[in-house]
Symmetry: C3
């Protein structure tokens, strides 16, 4: 099967410093785009948030990560880890006390990730999730570029291919809009705070996914 | 030549915190898969080990990296680098004192790497090697996904193509199993501790590579 | 359009610790190679410099990043961030006091980045630039591998395709050589120090780009 590429921009509304699990959103997009197998590149189009892979089970891991990162990159500037020398306040300060630390945290983590897709989903370890890590304190609108190169499953009936594909893309776009509304109405912190139980956000996203797949089953 | 993709999962048995050079294993797989030129994506399917590229010459570099990382992310929790404020113990502690530091170290380094393949081998600088960096203290079984997109060399005699390719894949699988046995019987720390001299592990891996290539020469 | 791959090695002469904006050089290469849409993988073929994406607007951000990183990874070795324990001097010291910190900084940032190309240019956020981050104090010659997989625009007139493509490649090579000369004659620190105003270096690179495109317009 020849390789093709598909691109999409995901919009995420964040609500302060913390982690936003992108795994389900990404898997929904992969299914809607019918990418069977391939490499997915993710790029955060910002310099004060990053992408990271970490534990999906105990939400305390994410809390400890936040706490650690705040201690490592404090607002008031760095003192050498050796304990020697003066404290060094940041010079880039006019965008607020959280801005320069956010740029540093971005360089210490990642702005892009490349992952494998297999059987129409991200190939991740059992305990892995893909997170957008917001480093600013206030609400932000963040764009993540999803760019896959791989084998895209086509329908056997060639006439249906374009119709199916267009409806899947429309569904994916609708899903993206719906997700944005969901995120604006709900506290995204719920995602990380529920110890693995299904939250309202999860249930809504599952419903979005059902709607996305419905189009294809109806044909 | 049209682009194709090949995937493989490498299993590595680690024996405590430290570095495991993956360069030869990866190059053996590239040769067995006959990938002439392409991009290779590596993903560590775990949240307490990472992938890093660093010096292949002086093993003291790896020792210093370990020492530095332990100082940067200590077991007892972080004190702000500014020197101000209280020590902050980790809340996620029930998996052992090395677990939360391992998650932090993973986020501060990388879970995935993308590298170029040229002339059937990784394109690396003279002093570069690709390492699995184990952050846990105890023995762990680690899976690394290798996913290449590129040009795959085929035999001129078309009937032999599939046979060759299947035998190469079988050889690669056997090589992977053999490597696992090799690692279980030997101390993988030898890899980093021998100042560039060939170790038993290196010699065994070279033998595996010879066996892998033998299949093709026999045809 | 079938996917193809293109590779190129960029040579950068650095002049001490700091940031070198690669964005224009990369975009020039993408245009010369006529890559319409695809994924670009960048690899720094060294263990004491890295690749990072950060702010392109206020040069104080880059100054603060440097200052922070020097405090985080000091020459004299690390003291645990907890404030407990002894200072730990580096064992790998024979290549100079900046060498081991450079290896650590490389592992804390990135040796490779994967980004999207759309409409013959890098898909970046408004405030993002791609930097080579030199961690050594002295002048160094650095090689960055550019490896794109994507759709390459061909001319409609098939006879012209190869001629165009070869001339574009030649132009790209010339552009690379010219850039090298430009960098040797000018202080690359100018790139980051001019608060967004066009520098001599910028103007020369624009001229290189014009020359690169001229070949195609002439046909």
């Amino acid at each position: 099967m020849p390789l093709e590429q598909v691109m999409h921009q995901l919009e995420i509304i964040t609500s302060g410093e913390g982690f936003h699990d992108l795994t389900k959103l990404i898997n929904n997009w992969i299914k809607a785009s019918r990418i069977q197998r391939g490499v997915l590149n993710l790029t955060a189009l910002h310099t004060s948030c990053s992408l990271t892979i970490n534990e999906n089970a105990d939400p305390l891991v994410l809390k400890d990560l936040s706490t650690y990162m705040k201690a490592l990159v404090p607002e008031e500037g760095a003192k050498p880890i050796s304990g020697l020398g003066e404290r060094l306040p940041y010079k880039h300060s006019y965008e607020g006390p959280d801005d320069m630390p956010a740029h540093i945290k971005t360089s210490l983590t990642s702005s892009c990730l490349s992952l494998s897709i297999e059987d129409q989903r991200l190939l991740l370890g059992t305990w892995q999730a893909v997170y957008l890590w917001e480093h600013r304190y206030s609400k932000q609108s963040r764009k993540i570029c999803l760019h896959a190169i791989g084998e895209i499953q086509k329908s056997n009936k060639s006439l249906e291919v374009n119709a199916n594909f267009n409806s899947a893309l429309t569904s994916a776009r609708n899903a993206s809009k719906l997700n944005k509304i969901v995120q604006q109405r709900h506290n995204p912190e719920d995602w990380a705070s529920e110890d693995g139980h299904e939250t309202n956000v999860d249930l809504l996203i599952d419903r979005i996914h059902d709607l996305t797949c419905q189009d294809d089953r109806d044909k």
